[in-house]
Every structure is written in structure tokens, then in C-alpha cells.
């Protein structure tokens, strides 16, 4: 039931991409997204497609998992595509009654759809190959310089990893509570909106009680182990760049430079 929902949707596999440092993957994803939104032209998109699918192939994650993320934004894609297609002014290619399809509209619709799809797929590569914990670790380290201007980087990262850590637990708990109440004849499916909301009470009360209890226990456990925040804290597995990471940086930057060259030349 609810058990099938996973956040961060990490897909375990043994690949080069999985082994990369999370900072490398964050940087690469960021650069890829920038590239998708700042370059166009057929040659440019061929390079982007080759890069994206090359990385997907390397990651050993089945393509169907990448496309799963697209399902959620399908409707958004279609609506945005249609708006672009019909509402962009310009040279009219084809028209029925009051609806006109323009050359610019067609171009915008295609461009935007490709960009959105690549954006989702690009970030999916990162979330599918990096565990949520690695990701927060990477973020914490990458954002470290912000500490100089009093941004509580460690605390934010800690909160993020605690939140991520508890999502599956709370989902499982919700599942168990739902079952316990369904066993007493509770009904979560039928009825109108008001009735449905009312029926949620037997689910929400135990869930909140348990969430607070868990938060309390965790705080106690952290304090018992002398947690005082980021000051002077060391990592059990410190993030270290390896040879693959340097290579990855070179590849990603080369990719970006290539696109710039294409843009300037063509």
C-alpha cells in the first residue's frame, strides 16, 4: 500500500555514478540544468541528449525509473505546451477559427517541453543514484562557506537529514495506523470531502502523538550522546574527492564549454 512510496527514490546499483561524491553530482546536475536552459539549437540539444543518456547508461538505473518522475508532471507539461503552442504571437503557420499556431509558438512549445523533461530526468539521475543522507552531507559541505555569514549550515543539513530519515518511518507508521483503524471498521475511501476529512481523525491523532514521541526520543538520544551542534563536529565517513570525481568534473566542464563553443560558432 503506502509502503511503495519512496522519497528520494534511491535505486541501489553498483555504478560509477553511484560512487561519485555527492558534491560532484550536485555540481554536475546544476551545470546540466543551466546548460539546458541557456542553450538551444539542434546541435546543442544533440550534445545535451548524448550527455544525459550517456550518464543514464553509466548509472545502470533502468530508464523506466527515470521516466517515472515525468508521470507526475505530465499534465503540467501538456498544459504548458498547449499554452505556448496557441498563445504565442508571431508568423501564423496554421489556423482554425480563432486558434492560430505560429512558428514561434511551435518552437517555444517544443523547446519548453524538452527543457522540462531534461530538467526532471537530469535531477532524477542525481536522486536515483544518491541516498538522501549522502545528498544532505554533500549539501552541507558544499554550503560550508556560507557559515561565514552566519548561515546555520550544519543545523539546516541536520534538520534535512532528520526529516528525510523520518519520512519512511512515518509512512510505515501511517500504514500501520490505517490498518489498525480499518480493522475496527474505519473507512478512509468513501464519503464526501467533509466526511473524508472527519474520517481522517482516527488516523491523524495517533500519527501526531507518535511523531511527537519520536521527536522527543530522538532529542533525548542526541543529547545523551552530547550533541551540541556543528561546532567541532567530525564525520564518520568524511567526503573525499577521488580520481573519478576529478575526471567527472573535467567531463562536465568540457561538456559545458563545448556547448558554449557551439553557441558562439553557430
Amino acid at each position: 500500500m503506502l509502503r511503495d512510496i519512496t522519497l528520494g527514490q534511491y535505486y541501489p546499483a553498483d555504478s560509477v555514478i553511484h560512487k561519485l561524491d555527492p558534491r560532484t553530482k550536485l555540481f554536475a546536475t546544476l551545470l546540466f540544468i543551466i546548460s539546458v536552459f541557456s542553450f538551444d539549437g539542434i546541435v546543442g540539444f544533440i550534445v545535451m541528449t548524448a550527455f544525459l543518456f550517456g550518464v543514464i547508461a553509466l548509472s545502470k538505473v533502468p530508464l523506466s525509473f527515470m521516466l517515472r518522475g515525468l508521470k507526475a508532471i505530465m499534465i503540467l507539461l501538456v498544459i504548458a505546451g498547449l499554452f505556448n503552442l496557441f498563445l504565442t504571437p508571431g508568423q501564423v503557420l496554421w489556423s482554425i477559427w480563432k486558434i492560430h499556431i505560429t512558428r514561434e509558438g511551435l518552437r517555444n512549445a517544443v523547446l519548453m517541453t524538452i527543457r522540462m523533461v531534461y530538467l526532471i530526468m537530469g535531477s532524477s539521475v542525481m536522486t536515483l543514484t544518491t541516498t538522501p543522507n549522502q545528498l544532505t552531507d554533500g549539501l552541507e559541505k558544499a554550503l560550508k562557506p556560507l557559515q561565514k555569514i552566519n548561515v546555520p549550515v550544519h543545523e539546516i543539513a541536520m534538520m534535512m537529514s532528520i526529516a528525510l530519515r523520518f519520512i519512511p518511518i512515518l509512512i510505515e507508521e501511517t500504514d500501520k495506523i490505517m490498518k489498525a483503524q480499518m480493522a475496527r471498521g474505519a473507512d478512509f475511501e468513501t464519503g464526501g470531502l467533509v466526511k473524508k476529512a472527519k474520517n481522517m481523525v482516527p488516523l491523524l491523532v495517533p500519527l501526531f502523538v507518535s511523531a511527537f514521541r519520536r521527536a522527543n526520543d530522538l532529542a533525548l538520544a542526541m543529547e545523551a550522546r552530547c550533541y551540541v551542534g556543528g561546532e567541532g563536529r567530525t564525520k564518520m565517513i568524511p567526503l573525499v574527492y577521488h580520481k573519478v570525481d576529478r575526471l567527472a568534473y573535467v567531463v562536465v566542464i568540457a561538456y559545458f564549454v563545448l556547448l558554449m563553443v557551439i553557441k558562439v560558432v553557430l
Binding site: I177, K179, A183, R184, R213
Partner: protein, 281 residues
Amino acid sequence: MSFILDNVSYRYSEKTAYEITALDHVNLQIDDGEFIGVIGHTGSGKSTLIQHLNGLLKATEGTIYFNGQDIYEEDYDLRDLRMQVGMVFQYPEHQLFEETVFKDVCFGPKNQGLPEKDVTLRAYEALQNVGLPEKYFDVSPFELSGGQKRRAAIAGVIAMKPQVLILDEPTAGLDPKGRDEILDMIADMHARYGNTVILVSHSMEDVAKYVDRIIVMDHGHVKFDDAPRQVFHHYKELEEIGLAAPQVTYLMHEMKEKGMDVSTEATTVDEAKEAILRLIG
């Protein structure tokens, strides 16, 4: 005849990287009025098995018949099944939610659509049956102790008067006294009402004293399904799957090995006492 499980298999997260087979071609028959213990190590599939009995989980393969009807039929009313097959989950915290204990126990009968008067009567009766003192009726369920919460949770289910009562680890986290009290109470109710009771536990000691039949689960299979003393004959195999026979079984076997003329049939301390007294005459 109350339950027939026909070749039931269940896989969690089917067709993903996380697929786990929790039940593997299980065949069982459970008759009316039986008192059954389902035993297995953590992850043996015992909780998965019982969640099939009231339709909370749907078997990926095979089917289940309750009173001769296939519960996976299109027009079968699963909600009605759940009223007849009461299930108490391991943690009472998962079901207690109302402002007072009494109101919480009313939740089940209310869902059954009974008139207000009957609901109150059922709740009162149930709370008396589980032996929760009246002074706790109007207290918030969150203020109760662990043992009292469990009683309230059990009351919440038996107030629906189910034909079959399933309890998932009803003694987890209780001290020995609380454990005995809860189990005595369940056995007592079984004796009075003659309903089918299925007790899930990982402790042989807990169930040996009470049940007439033990089903041992291991890796999603039914490993043994027999009367307690028959099951305990296999105490060495039980150990291999991370379980143990009651301590008296070991004692009796050891005495026999030492050349003393005792039967190894005893499963409870009382039976062992009798056997030893008989020996020393």
C-alpha cells in the same frame, strides 16, 4: 469451518528492486472455536499471514475462503469481514485516538452502525471483559500505562463481537505479570465465548500454556502445524530457526538422557511438576 487458505503467496513491493517474498505458498485450515498460536522469528511472515485473514493485505497468489466464501470475489464486503475477524495490532498506540477510553472503545461498534444504546452497552461489556477498572473509562487513553493501553485496545476490538479474534504480539513490552494477566484474560474469554482466537507471538513459553494448536512460520513457509507437544518434539529444529521450546521441554529431555524414566511430553511447569513427582513417587 472458518478459514481455508489455498496456496497463498504474498510479495512486498512486487516488481521493484525491493521485492520480498513474505508468504510462500501457504496452505492452512482454521476451524471454528480453535485457539491457535502463530509463532515465528521476526520476518518469518507471521504478521503478514494474519493480515491476510481480515483482508488488509491481498495475496499476490492463491485465495482465502472465510465461511465458504472467497474473500477476493469482486462483490465480497471486506469491511464486513473485518467486523467479523477482529484484529488487535501490536502497538495500542496505533489505534487509540479518542478523548476518553470509553469513546475509543465505542469507535468499532459505531462503525458497525449499531444504535447508540447498543454501542454503549457493547463498550461497557468489552471494558469489563478486559478487566479495566471503571475509574479509567473517562481518562484519556494516552494517560494509561502500557498494560492498560493494551487492555483498552483489545476492548476496542472485542466490542465489535468478532467471530475470530486475532492478536498480534499482545504481550510485547509488558512485564511478566502484565503478560500473564493479558494472556489469562484472553484464554478466559475464549473459554467463555468459544470464539476462534489466533495469538501471534515469538515466544513459545507464552503460548504453550494456552493454545491447542501451534503454527510455526519460517521464511514464509508453514514449518510445523500441530498440537503444542507434537511441535515441541522438534525442539532442535525450532532452535535452528531461531525459536526455542519451553524450558521444561529441555529439562524433561535432559532428565531422560540422564537415564531417568520420565515422559518428555510435559509442556508447562505444572505438567513437569506432576511428572517429576510421579518419578520420585
